[in-house]
Symmetry: none
Subunit: 126 residues, 4 copies
């Protein structure tokens, strides 16, 4: 279970990292069930990335592994990503920026390049 105080600390660390690299981002924290606990869209982050951040967090929580690991698997089987996406009503989103949290739940970050999203997600883990 991810409590709100922990989630807000994850958000704050990730946000500080995004500010340090100067890229406005959307940051989502979900619980073990993939349900939203806390979310922040930084000023200038595009609204396209709202669903992307939430999707990355949901996907990392649902699989229990980093989105980048899933992304690499999916690249070997290009049809899989589209199928998983449709099967999950669009929630499945593999790739950099989604990471399980040590205490349960996951963080999802979107708004930069894959590398930038991953740096910010890692910063969220503390």
């Amino acid at each position: 279970m991810t409590d709100l105080e922990q989630a807000l600390e994850v958000l704050a660390r990730a946000r500080a990292a995004a500010e340090e690299i100067g890229v406005p981002m959307c940051i989502a924290v979900v619980d073990d069930g993939g349900h939203l606990v806390a979310f922040a869209r930084m000023d200038g982050a595009k609204f396209l990335t709202v669903d992307m951040a939430i999707g990355k967090a949901w996907t990392a929580a649902s699989a229990g592994v980093p989105g980048s690991v899933l992304g690499a698997l999916v690249e070997q089987n290009p049809r899989a990503a589209a199928v998983f996406s449709t099967a999950t009503d669009g929630r499945f989103l593999a790739g950099e920026g989604g990471l399980p949290l040590p205490g349960g739940g996951a963080i999802g970050v979107s708004g930069g390049t894959g590398d930038q999203d991953e740096i910010v997600a890692k910063a969220g883990l503390g």
Copy 2:
């Protein structure tokens, strides 16, 4: 435009009010376009209420009036609520707990009774 700092202040005020009445809630803040800016689910708030809070905020932003006003209109026309819900892909959610913010955007609160949700949403306005 609703910036993140303003949205977090709205969240903090609403959360303090929910703690005062002892009811865990989901609180969402969206911008003028109905897109999520900040969100918090308090410990003990059910995940059913995540989408309810976001829907109430979206609806108040989309209509520019409190959800309770829309709710009263819909009560006079029972078929409207179901139809509007489907027409908007489930985003439409009228009722207490959704309020436009003075500077633009809206707050949506879910987790208590209608009266409790409304008290907490009003507290968010400051």
Copy 3:
């Protein structure tokens, strides 16, 4: 078939009527197939009403009768509205403000009361 020039004339007449009564509205014109030909959202019209106007036009075109006639039928059978709405992916929207056009297609208007929407839709017919 509804051509664009005719549709723009319908829009202009409806818009003038909405300005005369001082209510900002969304106005949609669709062809015989219910597909959008022309659309205008007046300044101050809420974005909730975008899908409502398009839905009313689609519904009037699909049934070939005014939305108010369908609305009266549906009131006698409250479950029908929700079922029709879901069955049509949210496009079904009966009520005042949707009217078939004499030359084919339909107009849909949303943003005011039912009576206001109907006045503006009728003005569109010329």
Copy 4:
């Protein structure tokens, strides 16, 4: 905020350009939140392209960059387009013909080749 008069001027310029190259098109203008402000389908434009034009405008508004830029990114990552499409309920549509407007919001054009759509969208910008 994109007002209706500005949106209609964008539409008129784009339509004139489409007439000049002799290709009937759908042209959509949305506001900062991706919500429709004005739309026109030229005589002969297929109804398949209605949602394409609206999707391109939504995508350009949501990301704040031309659809062609997003399209190039997506080409490097073929699974992304399908996943983003599902994640956004089919609204995401990258490629030529979607451009942010200088004053806010975006234009989306569909009906020709990618190059033709882009020429017409650029003409809309004035």
